[in-house]
Amino acid sequence: MSPQILRPIFSENQILSAADVNGIVNHARDASARHNRYLHDWGIADGLTLTAEEREDTAGTYMEVSVAPGVALDGNGREIVVAEAFRLSEDLFDQLNVAESVTDPNNPPQYPVFILGRDQSQQGTAMAPAICQGSASTRTVEGFEVTFGRVGDAAELDNQTPIQPGREISASGTSDWKILLGFVQWDGTHFTAATDEADGINRRYAGVRAADVSAPNHSLTLRSALRTVSDKAALTIDNQNGGEMRFGLQDSKGKVVPVFTVNAKGDVTAEGKILGAIAGGVQVESGVVTDGALVPLPAGITQEQIDDGEATIQVHLSPRFQQPASLPDPGANQFWQMQPLECYAQDRRVVCRVRWESTGGAPGPLILPGVCDFQVFGFVKAQAGAS
């Protein structure tokens, strides 16, 4: 029989057992965990940063690393709360035997630090029942465990699998979900540093899972930082001016100062440059190029697009007649004349050869790699169906 969600109900004069009362608590806790599990992405909600403070012993300086207070949600929906700063255990790190035996001092290994939720029974006193019933536990500590992994273990965290919808959060095996807090370095005795990121893997923060987000006040804003932190990127969709989407940095009051706006008619207002190719449009690049190099492509057009037939280019080259300062002195009242021998683009490679000849006949003519002004026009094919 598949697991069912059971909600306790009560009747008048019913004598409540411990199981009945626990049922109330567990039903609410499991409902909250399901909400966290299916409507949020797991990760750190707030705090839980690794902080390192320099310490000194007879062997020299080292770092004492602590986890700051904070809250996280694991992938099963379990809430993990660290109420006060917690110092990382060097003894535990040593016992876990995760340190690498050979390390490069210029690129020391970064060992991941994980936090896991842990339920622990607490022996009660104030509400203890009758003496003959012993000292049964009356509270469960919704605690945590901080542990360490080997180099590379942090890349495996997305492979963790959440429990099934009907499974209780208090069941065994539901508290093994690891959340990455950061990384530490180790010198064989002490921690020597703590960082948020290693090998492109960062602390993971909690998210929201939603297919549809609605705003009750006709205005929806996505922020990259808290609204009180100014100069952070934010995006607002609201019904101002008949409907607009505005992107920019938020000010100290959380208001988005737009640099990019699209209104409901499709009109785009951009304060900066628009880079990249516009389908059906023309992209242009110009400059100077010497013999043997490739003419660069306009921004937004790639060689792959050209190879795939999605874009074409036209190249125009004009040889420069300016005399190189390094040519020898042609003599009194004489000067150098330049004659282009060849100047064209082979695919994008410039072939430019020029002949410099002194009007006095000596020194003899020089044939040199040439210099060209170029213009490249890139044409991106319009997508099928686009007008």
Binding site: V284, E285, S286, G287, V288, V289, T290, D291, G292, A293, L294, V295, P296, L297, P298, A299, Q303, R320, Q322, Q323, P324, A325, S326, L341, R349, V351, R353, L366, I367, L368, P369, V371
Partner: protein
């Protein structure tokens, strides 16, 4: 200040070519953008000897715009992040000799400390360019201007690009008898 991209031979910093971009003046170009597939180098005698420096041997530096460099990039070498003009010279004073069993590099002047000369050799029946260095083992007590190392090559004509420190790059033909 206006900037330009200079394509270099990575091992020695010799300049090979120059590209500027008006559309992206504030952004340095990559080797892939301006020298994908390599850089086609040309001699400065008559411009008819050409050889392709492989893309993996190339670098790009972002330097101040300078018409001296633009019109004769081959005379310059990157030195502490800036192009420095070097002495122009060529065979037989500045040369690579190929005997079929040995490669011998010669500089116009003795050196009193060990100097590494880089070169690229193509042509004849080589399926891929040979890019290698030759050490001129100069010392204070025994200065010299030549150095040789083993290099087996079949008889025939080869195109050689020579990258010697303190000298402008030189491209020439060399025959293995």
């Amino acid at each position: 200040m206006e900037k330009m991209n200079v394509i270099t031979f990575k091992e020695t910093g010799h300049l090979l070519g120059v590209v500027t971009r008006a559309g992206q003046p504030e952004k340095a170009a990559t080797v892939e953008e301006i020298a994908a597939g390599g850089f086609r180098l040309r001699d400065r005698q008559n411009g008819e000897i050409t050889l392709q420096i492989p893309e993996e041997e190339l670098g790009v530096s972002w330097v101040d715009y300078d018409t001296r460099i633009l019109y004769r990039p081959h005379l310059f070498i990157m030195d502490a992040g800036k192009p420095e003009q070097k002495t122009e010279n060529g065979p037989p004073n500045l040369s690579i000799a190929l005997s079929g069993a040995l490669i011998t590099a010669t500089l116009p002047a003795n050196v009193s400390e060990s100097v590494e000369i880089w070169c690229q050799i193509v042509g004849n029946n080589l399926s891929e360019p040979i890019v290698r260095s030759v050490t001129i083992p100069g010392t204070v007590s025994a200065p010299t201007n030549t150095g040789s190392e083993a290099l087996i090559l079949g008889a025939g004509d080869y195109k050689v690009a020579m990258f010697a420190p303190d000298y402008a790059l030189v491209v020439f033909m060399e025959t293995v008898p």
